[in-house]
């Protein structure tokens, strides 16, 4: 006599994909996937980001030339404008710089460096920030208080300043540093600016979980609390951390570009987009605008698409806006 209320199949798309049970179709039919399918900007942004990542990963094969191989440069071809203007040539689609390097290829290699540095810094901040947040939230006491004060102080100092200071100190301490050391210092200096947000978020969630009974029960029975924290806290922070990481990649890339533009970023042998812009800046007044503008445009497109993705992700994961 008790009739079970019928549970209506919530998502008709799920029925459509009923044959396929692979992760992509599962994700596409989830709430986040639904939001993605509905947002044109998110899809366009993802596409653009994908193109850049592709070019960066496969620069060696996709780029028409290797602009950093001195032997392959032809000085005769220097300072050529882009292919669609009168003096340009189809050999160099976006023109060349003062040393005869193809701008298009330089862009691809430069993107690679920018992306690598950006993502590496974010990865480092993430690992450091999440770990510190876990420890602070779990241990509590003076360690927690100290860490939070540290976060407050660090947050009030702008990223650029911290990065510049570290770079400056690095130069003073290691005046004859080789390339990999320079990269290391750069990545560390950028990541030092980002870890705070992860630490705070994770600490908050850790504090909440720590007081729950199952954690106390586990402690009593001798289960390593670290294991519990990892299994229960981490899944809860996955969402906000992902959003943070996405948005931070954009700002890390911009920070690196700024540092390179100022001359204290990547070493000159591996120019990133920022370095290219700096080189091109000298030619702005004599009319060779393409050397600076194209790297600039690329930088903006990357930052924009990553920011858009981050924005969309934040809205998609926010249950209140659904």
């Amino acid at each position: 006599m008790l009739a079970k209320p019928a549970v209506i199949e919530a998502n008709s798309l799920k029925k459509d994909l009923d044959g396929m049970s692979n992760p992509i179709s599962r994700w596409l039919s989830s709430d986040v996937g639904y939001s993605f399918r509905n947002s044109k900007t998110a899809m366009v942004a993802a596409f653009i980001a994908f193109v850049f990542i592709f070019c960066a990963l496969f620069a060696k094969w996709v780029a028409p030339y290797n602009p950093f191989d001195a032997a392959s440069l032809e000085l005769m071809d220097s300072l050529l404008p882009p292919a669609w203007s009168a003096e340009g040539s189809t050999k160099y689609l976006l023109g060349t710089d003062d040393q005869g390097r193809d701008i298009l290829s330089a862009l691809m290699y430069g993107t690679r460096i920018s992306l690598v540095v950006g993502m590496a810094s974010v990865m480092l901040s993430l690992v450091v920030g999440v770990s510190l947040g876990l420890i602070a939230g779990f241990r509590g006491g003076w360690l927690d208080a100290f860490l939070m004060r540290l976060c407050d102080v660090m947050l009030s100092f702008p990223a650029i300043l911290v990065a510049l200071l570290i770079a400056g100190v690095g130069r003073a301490v290691f005046p004859n540093a080789d390339d990999s050391l320079a990269f290391g210092v750069l990545i560390i200096s950028i990541s030092l600016t980002g870890w705070v947000q992860y630490a705070r978020t994770v600490r908050g969630t850790t504090l909440v979980e720590r007081n729950k009974e199952y954690v106390q029960a586990a402690r009593v029975t001798g289960v390593a609390p670290l294991r519990i924290m990892l299994r229960h806290v981490l899944p809860n922070v996955l969402g906000p951390v992902t959003v943070l990481a996405t948005i931070q990649v954009a700002s890390a890339i911009i920070t690196e570009a700024t540092l390179s533009f100022l001359g204290v970023g990547v070493p000159p042998t591996s120019p990133s987009l920022g370095t290219l812009i700096r080189i091109g800046n000298d030619f702005l007044f004599s009319g060779e605008w393409w050397i600076t503008i194209f790297p600039g445009l690329t930088l903006v497109l990357i930052a924009l698409s990553v920011n858009l993705l981050g924005d969309w992700l934040r809205d998609a994961l926010n249950p209140r806006l659904r």
């Binding site: 006599m1 008790l2 209320p5 019928a6 549970v7 209506i8 639904y34």
Partner: protein, 332 residues
Amino acid sequence: MSLLQVKNLVVEFPSRHGTLRALDEISFDIAPGEILGVVGESGAGKSLTGASIIGLLEPPGRIASGQILLEGQRIDNLNNDQMRSIRGRKIGAIFQDPLTSLNPLYSVGKQLTETIQAHLPVSDQEARQRAIALLQDTGISAAAERIDHYPHQFSGGMRQRVVIALALAAEPQLIVADEPTTALDVSIQAQIISLLKNVCKKRGAAVMLITHDMGVIAETCDRVAVMYAGRIAEIGPVHQVINHPEHPYTVGLMASIPDMDVDRERLNQIDGAMPRLNAIPKGCAFNPRCPQVFDRCLQERPDLAAVSRSGQNTPTQVACWLHHANTLEGVL
């Protein structure tokens, strides 16, 4: 003449799972000065009814059909500006949480005088006098001083008194009170409810009291409407509905209230749960859980119909096929 008439109100929520009907042809009246209780489980549609009446239905919810009439004039089809002159002045509202209902950055007096002067053409001085009088009426001592205090300086019960004062500030004829005591200490609840009743009776204001607490209804209301799954199951004078419930749902509700004088081992409950909006059964919404269900219940949805019993001036109205049958039999 009725103060408020709701006729066949339908409220829908378009969602990506389809259009959900949250209120399905609700009809009731409120007479001037009367206190109507609206009771039901969470999700039955009580708050939505209140929100529709004051025109603060949150999008994407919308009134799909039906009418709401205040003193004979339609108010459901007014635009925001027109509705604004009605809100506060003709219909006041009280919400559940006194802690969040008041702006923490403005003094209580400022919020009162601002409301008064938004609707009544009075000077600053007079507005302030009225505000002090309102605070005194709602039982706040030392009103002349406390009028300049900030909300955080009042306790929970006091804050709700301020909220009631604010709702009455522009002298409305109807107050929609949405769970006004749920967020308060039990010891304070009784005080606030009786304050609400007295202060409204004194001013001749009608009240639509939305709550899930039958005890409050019994103490305060003249009539009560029982809501279930977006529909009205039963509506009638309060002592009739409580002591002689007609609808099986109401019967179940009354039976589940524990009786202190009877020894029981298990509490009575109604088996099952109220259906979700996207899974409302065909026919009578209560049929899966009804102990007296029969064929017609599964097919057709019953309308509200009066059940006449001897000795009742105002018959209870019930939406149940059992009683349609009775009525018919009575006639035959």
